[in-house]
């Protein structure tokens, strides 16, 4: 085998380790009996999880996170899928730039999006709450649903839908009885990705929430004040949730490389 091949293999493995080892360390030390997060490990313990589960504020944050992620998952997926259906039937010359425009909220730094939304809510007299957080999350999750579902609809065979329409089904009925069952895995995948993004968001949530916490703002409060290994436990839970959701999403949409 040639030296250059070995070089590229080594490089790729190093990058892979660089990407994954920090997360592996957080997960590993969430189960360690160490007061300071450093090697060597002093045995296995669930004490940080026990400490976390005894904290009532953790349960509040978890509940808020699930309420937000669940609502965003449902609403964003419905809105995004509707848009993708329309865009898939439009000429690529119009659909492409429209999707790019709709994706700009993802390209602007979240700090600016979060502040701009907060300024708007406060200026029109809306009280900041979980509802404003949900509205804000729609902005940056919707583009992902549109892109994912649109990509599926580009190769979609409309023959079956047209037969249903010719046989007298209304457009809505044709969608629910023909189109939806075919593209259901893609839509479920998009919904799970949306929830993972919503669960993980810190910056936009931070500016648009009033009191209370979601999991990331709860973690933020802990990181700023202490270096307590409980943070490893809650970070592990959050990573588990988001990675789990995205793995299921990849599996149902049959993502291959």
């Amino acid at each position: 085998m040639r030296i250059s091949t070995w070089f590229w293999r080594g490089f790729a493995i190093l990058v892979w380790l660089f990407l994954l080892s920090p997360l592996a360390i957080v997960i590993l030390f969430s189960f360690a009996n160490n007061v300071v997060t450093t090697f060597p490990m002093n045995g296995v313990s669930l004490r940080w999880y026990t400490a976390l589960f005894d904290n009532i504020y953790f349960w509040d944050a978890l509940r808020n996170s699930l309420v937000v992620a669940g609502s965003v998952g449902v609403v964003s997926t419905i809105f995004g899928t509707m848009a993708a259906m329309a865009l898939a039937r439009m000429r690529p010359k119009i659909a492409g730039p429209s999707m790019l425009a709709m994706a700009t909220p993802v390209m602007v730094p979240p700090l600016m999006v979060g502040i701009a939304l907060m300024v708007l809510y406060v200026s029109v007299g809306m009280k900041l709450s979980l509802f404003t957080v949900i509205l804000s999350h729609l902005v940056f999750t919707q583009p992902f649903v549109i892109l994912i579902v649109h990509a599926r609809m580009v190769g979609f065979n409309y023959a079956a839908v047209e037969s249903a329409r010719d046989l007298g089904a209304s457009p809505l009925r044709a969608f629910f009885t023909v189109t939806l069952p075919i593209i259901r895995p893609t839509i479920i995948g998009a919904a799970l990705i949306t929830m993972a993004l919503s669960l993980d968001d810190f910056i936009i949530t931070f500016f648009t929430i009033a009191g209370g916490n979601t999991l990331p703002t709860f973690i933020w409060g802990m990181i700023r004040t202490q270096t307590d290994p409980t943070i490893n436990a809650i970070a592990t839970l959050l990573v588990g949730l988001t990675v789990g959701l995205s793995l299921v999403a990849m599996a149902v949409t049959r993502y291959r490389g």
Partner: protein, 284 residues
């Protein structure tokens, strides 16, 4: 289809309406209003809506250095991230064979690995009592914990490169997957060396992915304030930290807005010039 053209147009508008409403009502309008705020000023904890450009003048006079420093850090991070992502995508696409799937899968997992969890992980790795220091002490390479690992620009570069790398890999690998093996074989048959093939056949076909990755990582790095706050220390205060503070205890929305939009326009200008130079360099 047995629907008339009018019906199709109407149903398309209905389908597009909810997401268009979200896009316009919760992105375009807030951003426009936020931009308008930059031309107002604060007096007695209230907004004074008389037109002024003094916030931009203040931004230029007081924060030009900070902005320059931020663009420099963001540029280093974007360049480093894009180059590593290019190497990784090239290796996965052409050099590692069936291991490619596992490697790419790892990158995808780390994409969803939690923003704060990653910054926190680097804090525990680079900290004074952190993993790296303990390892170096145990190996006898240093005698006392080094304080040079964290609370400096280097720590911010490492942390943000780690966070942004999977996001940069996706578009570059996406465009590299589109490079057909035929063109590479053709180049080889015509006597091209692997290096020449890389620069003249593969790289030009990945241009869109490279520009997308560089632009995205540059924008996100330039607008970040969490990483410099947690691992950057006082020596690495970026423009995002100042902007954030103006919406917290300092309460000066107009100045914060002027700083935000100056940063955004600065980023867009830098990215436009970079893309133009890249495209022109490749035409030669």
């Amino acid at each position: 289809m047995n629907a008339t053209i009018g019906e199709i147009g109407r149903s398309r508008s209905i389908l597009l309406a909810p997401s268009a409403l979200v896009f316009v009502g919760l992105f375009v309008l807030p951003m426009l209003y936020f931009f308008v705020v930059s031309f107002w000023q604060v007096s007695l904890f209230d907004l004074d809506r008389t037109f002024t450009v003094k916030n931009y003048i203040r931004t230029y006079q007081e924060y030009l250095g900070v902005a320059g420093f931020t663009f420099l850090i963001a540029g280093i991070i974007a360049l480093l991230t894009t180059l590593i992502a290019l190497g990784f995508a090239y290796a996965v696409r052409f050099k590692v064979g069936r291991f490619g799937t596992i490697l790419l899968f790892g990158a995808l997992i780390s994409l969803f690995g939690g923003y704060l969890a990653k910054v926190y992980a680097w804090k525990t790795i680079l900290g004074t009592n952190g993993i790296l220091n303990t390892a170096l002490l145990n190996l006898g390479l240093i005698d006392e914990p080094s304080t040079a690992l964290i609370f400096n620009p280097g720590a911010v570069v490492v942390t943000l490169t780690h966070y942004l790398l999977p996001l940069a890999i996706l578009p570059i690998y996406g465009s590299m997957r589109g490079v057909s093996d035929l063109t590479i074989e053709a180049a080889r048959d015509l006597g091209s060396t692997p290096v020449a093939t890389f620069f003249h056949v593969i790289l030009p076909q990945c241009r869109a992915g490279l520009i997308a990755s560089f632009s995205f990582t540059f924008l996100i790095a330039a607008g970040d304030y969490v990483t410099p706050r947690l691992v950057g220390g006082p020596s690495t205060t970026m423009i995002g930290n100042y902007i954030e503070s103006l919406f917290g205890f300092r309460f000066d929305w107009p100045l914060g807005s002027a700083m935000s939009f100056s940063t955004l326009f600065g980023c867009v200008a830098i990215l436009a010039v970079t893309s133009y130079l890249l495209i022109r360099a490749q035409r030669r």
